[in-house]
């Protein structure tokens, strides 16, 4: 089991000679440039008119900035709808995962029933199986349910992640039993206790799992690629990949980059507001999309 410690709290730094920290600062700044320049290049390209794309030398700051690529990408592609799809799918998947994971996690943490440990081992075992193994049968099941080109197909299968159950179980196990026992003495049912006593103190665990689930869903590519063929149900990553080939025989990097900006900016905003939870979610899960 992985213990995650909060970062960004308390400096445990050690300071060596001055030249070392000077060198480190130079390295950090250079590295940060390498991290930021691609984003700048993306933004710059998205503001360029078509003829400036192939200009040499390349313009890192567009000489004649224009919003035309955005206008075109929104008119050529139902971008607003696609954006809404991504949002809807990510929110629904996250909400579903939170409900399912917290309830099942609670059951594994607090209920005693025959076969519990075996069942939990099965949950854990599914975490080891690569998505490539399940993808074909999963696709056929979803096809049988007639969920191709529907929100159901995009939302429901990714909701069931054993990882969430695992995470929530760990959290509930760290909650002192006394809290629930007091409620039980007052005659509350298990569900009542769960809703009134446990949920209110589960904020941090929810935030961690929620942010992770949201990011994974927002950025997911392979699954939407398979279950969506209708533009009306495309999510952003899928729309982006499609934008690349939208104009056969034409190369419109400014449109592609405009679409990329539209997809990346919301995630960056979420990240800046919820940095701590994002980092914890990602660190704990160790999974990317």
């Amino acid at each position: 089991m992985v213990r995650v410690r909060r970062f960004a709290r308390g400096a445990s730094g050690r300071s060596g000679p001055r030249w070392v920290s000077g060198l480190a600062l130079v390295g950090v700044v250079l590295g940060a440039l390498v991290m930021l320049v691609p984003f700048a290049w993306m933004l710059a390209t998205s503001l360029k008119p078509g003829q400036a794309l192939l200009a040499l030398p390349p313009q890192l700051i567009p000489q004649e900035p224009t919003l035309e690529p955005y206008r075109r990408v929104v008119s050529a592609f139902p971008m607003v709808r696609v954006f809404g799809n991504s949002l809807l799918v990510a929110v629904a998947t996250t909400a579903g995962q939170l409900v399912l994971a917290s309830m099942s996690g609670y059951a594994f943490a607090r209920f005693r029933f025959p076969g519990r440990d075996v069942l939990f081992a099965v949950y854990l075992a599914t975490l080891m199986v690569p998505f490539a193994v399940t993808i074909t049968p999963l696709f056929i099941i979803v096809r049988q349910l007639d969920w191709i080109d529907s929100y159901w197909g995009l939302v429901v299968p990714p909701m069931f992640s054993a990882f969430g159950t695992f995470l929530m179980r760990q959290f509930f196990q760290s909650v002192p039993r006394e809290l629930e026992e007091a409620a039980t003495l007052d005659g509350a049912s298990a569900l009542g206790t769960f809703v009134r006593v446990i949920l209110p103190i589960s904020g941090p665990a929810f935030a961690t799992l929620g942010v992770f689930a949201f990011m994974a869903s927002w950025n997911a590519f392979l699954w939407p690629l398979l279950v969506v063929r209708d533009r009306d149900f495309m999510t952003l990553p899928l729309a982006l990949a499609t934008l690349q080939g939208l104009y056969p025989g034409q190369t419109e990097w400014n449109l592609v980059m405009a679409g990329t900006v539209i997809s990346v900016v919301p995630m960056i905003v979420v990240f800046l507001f919820a940095q701590r939870w994002v980092i914890e979610g990602v660190t704990t899960s160790g999974l990317k999309g």
Partner: protein
Amino acid sequence: MYERGARRWLTLALFLGPSLIGLALFLVGPIVASLALAFTSWDLLTPPRWVGARNFVRLADDPEFWTALRHTLQFLAGYLPLVMTTGLLVAVALNGRIVGRAFFRAVYFLPVVASWVAVALVWKWLLNPAFGLVNFLLAQVGVAGPAWLFDPTWAMFSVVLTSVWKDTGFVMVVLLAGLQGIPREYYEASAIDGAGPAQQLRFVTVPLLMPALFFALSISLINSFQVFDQVYVMTGGGPAGATTVLVERIVRQAFSFSRMGYAAAMSWVLFVLIFVVTIAFSRAQKRFA
């Protein structure tokens, strides 16, 4: 826990049921189905035919499979050392007292929150041989840049480079979490003993960071066996098949060639590979950390 008899089972069903049904339908079911499929030949138009172990026999002398495996290992061999090194350097640098530490941590983490499709597209454009920024900058220092994604010898390296850029931030936060757990006194004590920064890194930081290093490494390892999104968007397996990787081949066999049984067999081989490596890894971890 609280109630008895039928009521208790009802409560359990309420908490665990939905998750259990979903897991059975969308994870365990497909895993079992995929195992069965691996022993059939199925083109989707006619019913599956049982072929015994033929798919696995065929895999053994399928050059495409071995090439894809070799490419996957090449990716891994380039990506793992690079991403661990950059991640460790950045983590150590950003653990000390440094101006704008929170800002830099956020900057290095930005690529992690962007979707793979977006990152792959931006880098595809950055690495464009004639009009991209990278070759332009190289030309400024007198280097004639390669054709990157258009050159079979450079294509995989381009994918590695992009992946290292995206995942450095992830390794960084995992290691920062580990670094934060190293008590400050250790550094103070070693400083009194006359240890410089290099010795401190060697004798204090790295040994105490082992669990975090192992965690970051094993997650990166498992993820790099399943490398797909960046390859799909950046090269589609090309040029001339120079970047075909295992998951890309599985998806192609299943969803371009309609060879469901063969794809399932290949995915199980991948699973066994990941499984064996993970087990070997946790054995090693017990010995060293």
